[in-house]
């Protein structure tokens, strides 16, 4: 009855073993972090309290994990049922991305042993954007687990439970659209309170949540295109480029929206001149903007949109654009004041690599064991 099937095949392939090696290096440094403290393995300091563990593992990685969100929007809100085959792999990638984002937040926590304090209502500070992020991401991880549960239940043949879950799944799907809208916009709002430390070109104040949300959706659709394209190459699946080009078309609207808001804000806030007069920050801004504009040009052309290679280029550019937008705002042009500098240490980077390696390993195992990818005869 399922339109999805497990890929099967060997688990211990060469890429898998390569990822295992990276993962083990990450585990080694992670062990240090949990025995000697954060200072031992990271370059975090008094001015740069947030390094790549927050900015990559949480802020960027959860945006990478917005595939499930973006597709849920398209399929269930705008009723574009034709994209249904892409949903389950996207939900799996989202689940893994968010779970590891949550884990990233945990090992970055200075007082990890009392992480539960944020879940105690008596402690809640409703002025805090971080409270919204923390609670909302935690809830969304549960929702994603429920959204992905049918794959596991099918595999285990638990038909009764599957039927019951399917009956209420619409509610979880609705939450699966609402929650990322909330916390992905909040990830942008985190920048507001940082005030002057955020470079003026990125400190858009009230517009932070909207820009963060638009860029998260752009990254969400891009990651679906990217994953589907790599599945074609990696697993020899039939190309779904007709579906992907449709997603590309949706993304055009988001890109135009993002760029309009971005530039209108700079003009209204009287910062347009800074685009060219900010030295290194100007370079980063222009690079970032180019990464948003190039895919827009590709996707505007119906002919290019139909070509898998062009679509993949556009998707990668958009993923880099969204990543750079976040890195620029939170780290690269972030300036806490004189006397502080930050570049991640090797152990810090290896911990992040280890986490990403684990995420990819888990994805590979799960698509092989569980009915995740769409079976072609139904496509």
């Amino acid at each position: 009855m399922s339109q999805h099937q497990a890929l099967g095949g060997r688990i211990l392939t060469k890429p898998f073993l390569f990822l295992t090696a990276i993962f083990l290096v990450g585990v080694y440094f992670m062990a240090q972090r949990f025995t000697s403290g954060m200072g031992e393995v990271s370059n975090l300091n008094g001015g740069y309290a947030w390094g790549i563990w927050v900015v990559y593992d949480v802020v960027v990685a959860t945006a990478f994990a917005c595939g499930g969100y973006a597709l849920a929007f398209a399929v269930y809100v705008f009723n574009k049922g034709q994209y249904h085959p892409l949903v389950r792999p996207a939900v799996l990638a989202s689940l893994l991305g968010y779970a590891l984002g949550g884990f990233g937040a945990f090992f970055d926590m200075g007082r990890f042993w009392q992480f539960y304090e944020i879940f105690l209502p008596g402690n809640w500070n409703f002025n805090s954007v971080m409270l919204e992020v923390g609670l909302c991401v935690a809830t969304y991880i549960i929702i994603l687990t429920l959204e992905f549960a049918p794959a596991l239940l099918e595999r285990l043949g638990m038909k009764g439970l599957l039927k019951a879950l399917n009956k209420v799944l619409f509610l979880f799907i609705a939450l699966g659209v609402l929650l990322p809208t909330m916390h992905q916009s909040s990830l942008g709002s985190l920048l507001i309170a940082m005030g002057h430390k955020v470079h003026p070109l990125w400190q858009t104040l009230q517009l932070q949540p909207l820009l963060a949300l638009l860029s998260a959706l752009i990254m969400g659709f891009s990651i679906v295109v990217f994953e589907a394209s790599t599945s074609v190459v990696g697993f020899g699946k039939k190309s779904e480029s007709h579906l992907l080009s449709g997603l590309g078309k949706i993304t055009v609207g988001l890109l135009v929206g993002f760029l309009l808001v971005r530039f209108a804000t700079l003009i209204l806030q009287g910062k347009f001149g800074l685009i060219f007069s900010s030295g290194f920050a100007s370079f980063m801004f222009l690079l970032e903007t180019a990464l948003f504009v190039v895919p827009l040009l590709i996707l505007l052309s119906p002919a290019k949109r139909e070509r898998g290679s062009q679509l993949l280029i556009a998707a990668v550019a958009m993923l880099l654009a969204g990543t750079l937008y976040r890195f620029d705002a939170f780290l690269i042009t972030f300036s806490p004041g004189p006397g502080f500098s930050y570049f991640p240490s090797a152990p810090e980077i290896m911990i992040t690599f280890g986490v990403v390696a684990f995420e990819l390993m888990a994805y590979l195992v799960m698509v092989k064991l569980l009915p995740v990818l769409h079976s072609e005869q139904h496509a």
């Binding site: 008094g46 947030w50 200075g110 009392q114 049918p150 609705a174 009230q206």
Partner: protein
């Protein structure tokens, strides 16, 4: 109503409420009724660092030794072991005190006890609190998860995490009023103000300190002025000194909503490493956005109702059933 119209109405309504809310962001917080604070007059500071030593004593923190300077605490900046530090400004030959070019001066770094504190606003667990009466900003590690948002949310980079300890915590000046110290509640002044030999660090009620600061900026350079030591409202002694060329600017009167610890100087504050702040606190803007989106969870509730309706209809249409 057609589904498309319903969707539009829901999204439009949500957006409209969100936008109208943003316009009603809250103003800066006002100083606490009985706000206490300190006035640091850079032109009086001789860099003896008695305040640094006293601060370590009160907070039971070890000295920080930089290089071979083992004679005294040589902490260069705030850290998990240093809540108060005296920094030096030097330009060119550093010939004359309190002169910007070819001169030098001293600057104190410690918690400014903001009137509208960013650290309090951003903390998810209410581990940072502004005292209702005194305005003192305190930290409560028992509920802190160590997310360090207070550090990035502080315009002055004051809260410091003890990175070198596995079970570290955030450290900051709590104006000597933390549990077990309680100097202010006991009618005493802060340790740093008590030991300052020149009155460069003065303790007292915020209004009295602000009045004293303004009085000083209105003095004629070259005149003599009788400078108080200790608590501005009941100084334990005075000393006469020539009035320097004060900047006509009391740092902390208005910056980002003002601070309870204010600074006076003859050298411009940006040279002393003070951040570029306007009068509006970033916290008030962030809270305005957050509350307009999440007040009573009304918007999320409306959005969820709309989404549930739409998703339910779209999954029911789907002949394949609702499997995701």
């Amino acid at each position: 109503m057609k589904r498309r119209d319903f969707l539009k109405a829901t999204l439009g309504g949500t957006a409209a409420v969100a936008c109208s809310g943003v316009a009603e962001a809250r103003p800066n917080l006002e100083p606490a009724d009985n706000a206490v604070g300190m006035l640091f007059d850079s032109t009086l500071c001789i860099g003896c660092k008695a305040c640094v030593a006293k601060c370590k004593e009160v907070n039971e923190m070890p000295p920080v030794i930089d290089g071979d300077a083992t004679t005294w605490d040589s902490a260069r900046d705030l850290s998990g072991d240093t809540l108060n530090v005296i920094k030096v400004y030097r330009d060119g030959e550093a010939e004359v005190k309190d002169r910007e070019e070819n001169g030098f001066c001293f600057e104190k770094r410690s918690c400014m006890h903001c009137v509208d504190p960013g650290c309090v606003s951003v903390c998810p667990c209410t581990a940072m609190r502004r005292d209702e009466k005194t305005g003192i900003v305190s930290h409560h590690p028992d509920v802190c998860i160590g997310c360090r948002n207070c550090m990035v949310g502080c315009p002055y980079n004051v809260p410091q995490f003890q990175y070198n300890e596995l079970f570290g915590q955030i450290q900051k000046c709590q104006m000597c009023n933390q549990a077990g110290v309680g100097r202010i509640d006991n009618g005493q002044m802060t340790g740093c103000a008590e030991v300052c030999p020149t009155g460069a660090t003065l303790f007292g009620p915020r209004d009295a300190l602000l009045a004293e600061a303004k009085r000083r900026t209105e003095l004629k350079p070259g005149e003599t002025y009788n400078y108080p030591r200790g608590d501005v409202s009941k100084p334990y002694s005075h000393h006469e000194k020539r009035v320097p060329e004060y900047l006509q600017h009391v740092w902390g009167e208005k910056e980002a909503g003002g601070t309870n610890v204010m600074h006076l100087s003859a050298v411009s504050f940006d040279k002393l490493g003070m951040p570029p702040l306007g009068e509006r606190s970033a916290a008030s803007i962030a809270e305005g956005v957050q509350h307009s989106l999440y007040n009573f969870m009304a918007l999320p509730a409306i959005a969820l109702a709309g989404l549930t309706y739409v998703v339910k209809r779209n999954t029911d249409d789907d002949d394949k059933g609702g499997d995701a």
